[in-house]
């Protein structure tokens, strides 16, 4: 296999994943404590904005759309459930708002998935979890090999007259793929052993720095969540409007949600 261009294969380092985890948790909390459609829909817009500004080039970017779809589906299901009980306008509106809340949480996580790099997330693992984290990273990097293996085997079997389909001759497909995987596992284990795996204290090579930008993201998100939580416990704003009433929009809370858009306004780290 020959070398190909560099640009398409290098990895861009986004913000420290810890910042994103903080952001999505806080945004999730915000969505969780309210069923006011004004706040929720604004949060949708914010999530979309952050996604658009920072989506990674990898395959996970496509997940945003999937999460949005899942959210819409959840909303529909929730509303449909109303018809199992008493049906009236108030109940339907209520159900719609609860569904919207769930959908918003999903959209927030859609953004999270689209902007983070899976390997960066694994690299975060504290030393104690080094081995399972490494295993997860391995699973991610070996997966393409496994998929290629399946295609190779399927074609090879076809070329000797065995047509593998999900129900027929499945062992002819599954066994060679597994066997090859097992051989690879042996080579890998040897190599890891020979390179000192499990030999005591580990250090980290070039850990991703938690930059001021990342800190800003984390802090602003925490602020937003804190504001909402304070409203939730302190009761100084209406977070759950009554069914058919006009939803309110407390200016302070609106600002809090806008603050969650901060990541969208910061530039990403080195490409």
């Amino acid at each position: 296999m020959t070398s190909t261009g560099v640009a398409s294969q290098t990895r861009r380092l986004g913000f420290h994943p810890g910042a994103w985890i903080c952001w999505s948790t806080c945004a999730g909390i915000v969505a969780f404590v309210t069923t006011d459609p004004v706040y929720l829909l604004l949060l949708w817009a914010v999530a979309w904005f952050v996604y658009a500004s920072h989506r990674s080039a990898g395959a996970t970017a496509a997940s945003f759309r999937i999460f949005v779809l899942a959210g819409v589906l959840a909303l529909i299901v929730r509303v449909a459930l109303v018809f199992l009980g008493t049906v009236n306008a108030a109940n339907v509106a209520f159900a719609a708002r609860e569904g919207l809340r769930l959908a918003t949480i999903l959209v927030v996580f859609g953004t999270f998935n689209a902007v983070t790099d899976p390997f960066a997330v694994v690299r975060l693992a504290p030393r104690r979890f080094h081995e399972p984290a490494l295993a997860a990273a391995l699973a991610l990097s070996i997966a393409p090999r496994t998929v290629a293996s399946v295609q190779t085997v399927r074609e090879a079997q076809r070329l000797r007259g065995i047509n593998v389909s999900p129900l027929r001759s499945l062992p002819a497909l599954a066994v060679p793929v597994l066997e090859r995987g097992m051989e690879d596992a042996l080579t890998l284990a040897e190599s890891m052993d020979a390179r000192g795996h499990g030999g005591g204290r580990r250090t980290r090579y070039r850990p991703q720095p938690f930059t001021p930008a990342a800190a800003t993201i984390a802090a602003s998100a925490a602020l937003a969540a804190g504001t909402f939580l304070s409203a939730s416990f302190g009761g100084w704003a209406e977070l759950h409007p009554a069914s058919l009433a006009r939803p309110e929009a407390d200016p302070l809370l609106l600002v809090a949600i806008a603050v969650l858009a901060v990541p969208g306004m910061l530039k990403g780290e080195r490409a």
């Binding site: 299901v77 008493t86 209520f94 159900a95 996580f109 104690r128 979890f129 699973a139 939580l229």
Partner: protein
């Protein structure tokens, strides 16, 4: 031919304490799934009558108990390169199987956990289930608060498979595994649905009612389940059993051979003088 068992290097603490801790934590984990039935009246955070399940507090408690379970199981260390490599390769298979986007959720992913759990023991089965699910979530970009639930649930599936018969005749081994796979198809779906039930069904007629007793909630849940995932779970249950019957034996044979080739039972090398 006896099957190999992979277990992390034993911890130095008292084994009984360890087992007790394991039981407690697994119970906590179970609680995280079954709380809607067990907790009759939960603090109503907002005081608002229309909402009973509220506050991120419940979610927090759930996540903490599952987190503790995962923390203990995954943080044991002492896995060694062979186990890590095996989890990596088998986890890759789980990730790869997620791709075709099986209609019934990640049905095919189960076969890996079932077979590997049976071949390598409950400890390995749990680890593979948890780590493989995590990796596959990372891969398809499906991370979310549901992940700890998935990880623990599939981990339990793997652990259970490891407790089924592993030596002895093939028909017994395959039969038991197929039956287990079938039951798990439903159990997994039912249990995982439990997590989303209070939030999706909310305070509808079949939602979780903190004021009602356990039985009433159970009835509500059964209806919810029937309406939502029963069909999919049937697909999954039948699929699992069918896969085990069709490819279980050759796959298990491969794994057993691999265990031998990788010398998983590495005893201390025997040394001899002279010669």
């Amino acid at each position: 031919m006896s099957a190999a068992t992979i277990a992390p290097v034993a911890s130095t603490r008292a084994p009984r304490l360890r087992i007790a801790a394991l039981i407690v934590v697994n119970l906590l984990g179970a609680m995280a799934f079954l709380w809607p039935f067990a907790l009759p009246a939960l603090l109503d955070v907002t005081g608002n009558e229309e909402h009973r399940i509220d506050g991120p507090w419940i979610l927090l408690i759930l996540l903490v108990s599952l987190g503790t379970l995962l923390f203990l199981e995954l943080g044991r260390g002492g896995l060694g390169p062979k186990a890590v490599a095996l989890i990596g390769v088998l986890g890759a298979a789980m990730v790869a199987l997620r791709l075709p986007g099986f209609v019934a959720g990640f049905s095919a992913m189960f076969i890996v956990v079932l077979v590997a759990g049976n071949a390598f023991g409950p400890s390995f089965g749990f680890l593979l289930g948890a780590v493989g699910t995590f990796a596959s979530g990372l891969f398809v970009g499906g991370l979310g608060p549901w992940l700890p639930f998935q990880m623990v649930a599939i981990g339990w599936v793997g652990a259970g498979a490891g407790m089924l018969p592993r030596d002895g005749s093939w028909p017994v081994r395959i039969g038991a595994l197929a039956a287990y796979g079938f039951v798990i198809g439903y159990a997994y779906g039912a249990v995982l649905n439990l997590w989303s039930w209070p939030f999706v069904a909310g305070s509808s007629a079949i939602g979780w009612d903190s004021a009602a007793g356990g039985i009433a909630n159970l009835r509500h849940y059964v209806t919810f389940y029937a309406a939502t995932s029963f069909a999919w779970d049937t697909f999954r249950a039948v699929g699992n059993a069918a896969l085990v019957i069709v490819v279980g034996k050759p796959l298990l044979a491969s794994l057993d051979r691999a265990a031998r080739k990788m010398r998983l039972h590495v005893a201390e090398p025997i040394t001899r003088q002279g010669a």
